[in-house]
Symmetry: none
Subunit: 247 residues, 2 copies
Amino acid sequence: MPTDRPQPVFVLVRPQMGENIGAAARAMWNFGLDRMRIVAPRDGWPNPRAVAMASGAGRLLDEAVLVDGTSAAVGDCSFVLATTARARGLTKPVLSPERAMALAAERIAAGERVAVLFGPERAGLENDDIARANAVINVPVNPEFASLNLAQCVLLTAYEWQRAGGGIMHERVDMAGAEWAEQIEIEKLSEHYEARLAEAGFFFPEHKADSMRLNLRNMWSRMPLTRADVQTLHGVLRQMVRWKERG
Amino acid sequence: MPTDRPQPVFVLVRPQMGENIGAAARAMWNFGLDRMRIVAPRDGWPNPRAVAMASGAGRLLDEAVLVDGTSAAVGDCSFVLATTARARGLTKPVLSPERAMALAAERIAAGERVAVLFGPERAGLENDDIARANAVINVPVNPEFASLNLAQCVLLTAYEWQRAGGGIMHERVDMAGAEWAEQIEIEKLSEHYEARLAEAGFFFPEHKADSMRLNLRNMWSRMPLTRADVQTLHGVLRQMVRWKERG
């Protein structure tokens, strides 16, 4: 069963190599997309090479809808995007993958059905296919070297679909069970170092002692220290003192 | 000749298949990145399979810097990112590719050198490599199906680098004349502490010594240390030793 989450349909138009169909399925499922339609695959259908390559994403191939023309593939969709590597002399909005998937997300949220067309490996989509699309998606690659393959194009589009879906955490810390130290703990750490280092004669010469203390305190407070880090740093100092005391 | 545009270095750590090295080069050059470093490739170097796969991006392989360890690969960099597929039990910021490349762009614009580490195909980076990084990059894939290969991970990161190309500063640090420490300086600081603390009997009991060392190293690399901080921390330790020696 496909997932319930509303999503665009990815349409592979006249794909050639079975391996690439399998790789496209994997690329989609990495980002939670599982609705594929396939237009007139060169080597027929089902394709054992596609199945072998898809491995854990094989379900997408089992559930893929096979059709014989692009018009049948997008017939039930109200917004169609066509991926192309180069301009085609057709007057058509050209969107970045990011912008395209943001628009797709808006339309899908409003209850529309959206399709994204991907052309065959060598030649890409024909103008006839592109003419059915509301807009074109163009991945902004290096003008000196544009060599995205089918699965990579699917991957970047699926990635942008997920980014458009929100819920991506841009930044977090893998705390691995650790907790951030509280300010009071940092303060005590700072005092511990100041006291021992004073005993050890660190704050020298006298006229620089204040600024040395300030720099040290500023350093501790700037560090993202966990409670475990604070304990480690106390431990480091204690051990040095014990070592000294053993003489 | 590499392009002049300031950019992060992509470091392939212990890559296995030559084809994947070639595919990574293509993925990079699609988005205008052309500085690759390779740590201890399994099948030696140069690798004809890598060259065959790279085709139009072969120049990146010709100019790739071969090194025998991760520390040599990132020694001249002041900001290191490590790509991982899963949490590793190390306390470390976890960034989306978008956020990570935005930060990389800001730091590069400020004159810093940035490296991104990619692990070997099967196992990914080792904790020892990750402990050298300032932060981790995690591509937010489908939790039920995470199957990005090496070249796809390189592709998404390179794509986000290009998207970040605006060089917009979202956040900056008032450096007040200070400079960030380079990785080699952090490495030496870490070694200094490890050596002295070992003498002082800190790494005890024996069966916990390795994980204590790893945690300590991870702590230093996670800290935003300036060159002055590094000097201070060396000074702290030296002074404690001197104090001990005075008896």
